[in-house]
């Protein structure tokens, strides 16, 4: 075998290995998606949306209270996380400067916060909210999710605002606009689709979180919108149902998983679409 043959052969082997690795990885992932859709749709019907959680074996059993609880938790976390994250990101990009000391530190810390184990955040919120209050509550769940959300929104806002050309800012200031007006009317507008994308992705990210809710918002078998009481969520319900011995609960757990996955994937695809549209315009 000549040197040339050997080189070509090595190349072929590596190429094949890389194909196999991709195939194994992608096959496993599609297996999971297949299971999710197959199992999710078997138990999914109108009952899922109009009845509350019920003891196993009951026909009038659904996920209405968990769906509503999940929406309240995610919406509540977004109401705190989005304004705080966007304004903090604005500070980094517009006031802190690319190399400002505080801005740099906040950027690094948010990167770390983004990867902090979510269960640790759950324990933290338990200690500062649940223990003093004496009981689980929707508020605690909202706070836990908001803590996870802020660094994500902050970092994308920072990145997106920095993409807005400096000349636009200078033009606004030259016309005599005060800085806050320049930011709101020129910078935010220029970065609009990027900001929306970042917010959507962060909502999708926290919507799938279970660990921080296990001992903050806990769960509730009844329909409740009272944030001072424990509140049901899709994710914690999935956890409770999947670990139960009852067939019908397990099936319903898969339905909850499917609803959640469709929401998360939908938000991700929408976000991608928005970014692409933006790129196309340019």
């Amino acid at each position: 075998m000549t040197r040339q043959d050997r080189r070509v052969l090595t190349d072929k082997i590596i190429t094949a290995l890389s194909f196999i690795a991709s195939f194994i990885g992608i096959a496993a992932l599609f297996w999971i998606l297949g299971v999710l859709f197959y199992k999710g749709f078997t138990a999914l019907n109108l009952h899922t949306f109009i009845y509350d959680m019920a003891p196993p074996g009951r026909a009038e059993s659904g996920l209405r209270n968990a769906l509503v609880g999940q929406l309240i938790l995610v919406a509540g976390a977004s109401l705190i996380g989005v304004p705080v994250g966007v304004l903090a990101g604005t500070y980094l990009s517009e006031y802190g400067g690319r190399n400002g000391k505080l801005a740099k530190l906040v950027r690094d810390i948010s990167d770390i916060m983004m990867s902090t184990p979510s269960i640790v955040i759950g324990a933290f919120v338990y200690a500062i909210v649940v223990a003093p209050m004496g009981h689980f509550s929707g508020w605690a769940g909202i706070i836990a999710l908001a803590i996870m959300m802020i660094p994500i929104v902050l970092r994308t806002t920072d990145d997106m605002l920095q993409l807005v050309p400096g000349s636009l800012r200078e033009a606004a200031v030259a016309l005599g606009a005060p800085k806050y007006k320049m930011i709101i009317q020129v910078v935010y507008r220029g970065a609009k689709s990027g900001l929306v994308t970042g917010i959507l992705l962060s909502i999708a990210r926290i919507a799938g979180e279970t660990a921080p809710l296990l001992f903050t918002s806990f769960s509730n078998n009844f329909f409740s919108t009272d944030l001072n009481k424990p509140i049901a969520s899709l994710t914690v319900t999935m956890f409770n149902y999947a670990t139960s011995p009852y067939e019908d609960w397990i099936d319903m757990g898969w339905s909850a998983a499917l609803i959640l996955a469709l929401f998360v994937l939908g938000a991700n695809i929408t976000a991608r679409f928005l970014i692409r549209k933006k790129k196309g315009e340019k």
Binding site: S22, A28, E94, I112, G122, A123
Partner: protein, 287 residues
């Protein structure tokens, strides 16, 4: 009026930016404060004590720490070659159309909530592994496999992004001199993006070690150091998820916070190493 609004806007945004720092510092302080009784009672021996007996108020963190480290190590061993294979496929081998489609699929899979991976592991993977390995099908090996599947998309996506930072002109020069694809990869791309790849792997490790929901279902939840990888075990996040609401004594509660603090310190260190030692260059290039 404008002056007032201007300073209001500046100060609100600055306070919110500082909030992030406050939360992180508070996280450490609160966990330490809650863990204090257990730290006083067990000291550093907590890290090596294998006994976890809540009924006798004896708590040792070793089984959980061991479980976390071993399951993460298994996950990394499986996920790293596959994820790098996918990254090579996406950045060097696939046609642009295939790369776009598969790349998008990988990114979407990275977004799927981890609890779904856990449910799949419990109902589909564990029975199969039970037939192959025997035992209950639950344990560190199963947890490692589920974790690896969960982090593959994430690791593949960021490794691919790192590989893409290689300037085309470098690759073209190598091809122009008659190098094969593997030679370009080995001698041009990988040396160029080495720190990015290592950073991506460590970042995925940080994610795996703190993951709760993907492994809670398949760990088996037994508080001991297992004799084999196929026996029921536990890990730090799994212990927290299962026992937090059951902690009935102060020492029990505080021992759980001790575990949470250990997890926070481990993940903080791992992520800081990935970010500051390895990923700095990749990020600077992106901007």
């Amino acid at each position: 009026m404008d002056k007032f609004l201007d300073s209001l806007f500046l100060n609100t945004s600055r306070i919110f930016a500082i909030t992030v720092l406050v939360v992180l510092v508070a996280l450490f302080i609160v966990l330490f404060k809650e863990a204090k009784p257990a730290i006083d009672a067990f000291g550093l021996q907590f890290l090596t004590n294998t006994r976890w007996a809540p009924n006798m108020d004896i708590f040792g963190g070793y089984p959980a720490i061991y479980g976390s480290i071993v399951s993460t190590a298994i996950a990394m061993l499986i996920a790293t070659p596959i994820a790098i294979g996918i990254a090579i496929f996406l950045s060097e081998l696939a046609s642009p159309l295939v790369a776009a489609i598969v790349g998008m699929a990988v990114e979407l899979l990275a977004a799927i909530p981890s609890i779904i991976y856990g449910m799949w592991g419990l109902f589909y993977l564990a029975p199969i592994l039970k037939d192959i390995w025997g035992g209950s099908g639950l344990g560190l090996a199963t947890a490692g496999v589920v974790l690896s599947i969960m982090i593959i998309p994430f690791m593949a996506a960021i490794t691919r992004d790192a590989m893409k930072t290689t300037p085309d002109i470098l690759k073209e020069s190598a091809y122009g001199m008659g190098a094969t694809r593997w030679e370009v990869l080995k001698d041009v791309v990988i040396p160029y993006v080495k720190s990015g790849i290592i950073g991506s792997i460590i970042l995925a490790l940080g994610r795996a070690i703190g993951e709760t929901m993907a492994v809670t279902f398949v760990m088996g939840n037994a508080h001991k150091v297992p004799h084999s990888l196929f026996e029921a075990a536990t890990s730090i996040p799994v212990t927290l998820a299962n026992e937090f609401t059951e902690a009935d004594t102060d020492l029990y509660y505080s021992s759980l916070f001790y575990l949470a603090l250990i997890l926070l310190v481990i993940s903080f260190t791992v992520i800081a190493i990935a970010k500051f030692l390895f990923l700095k260059r990749v990020q600077e290039k992106k901007i």
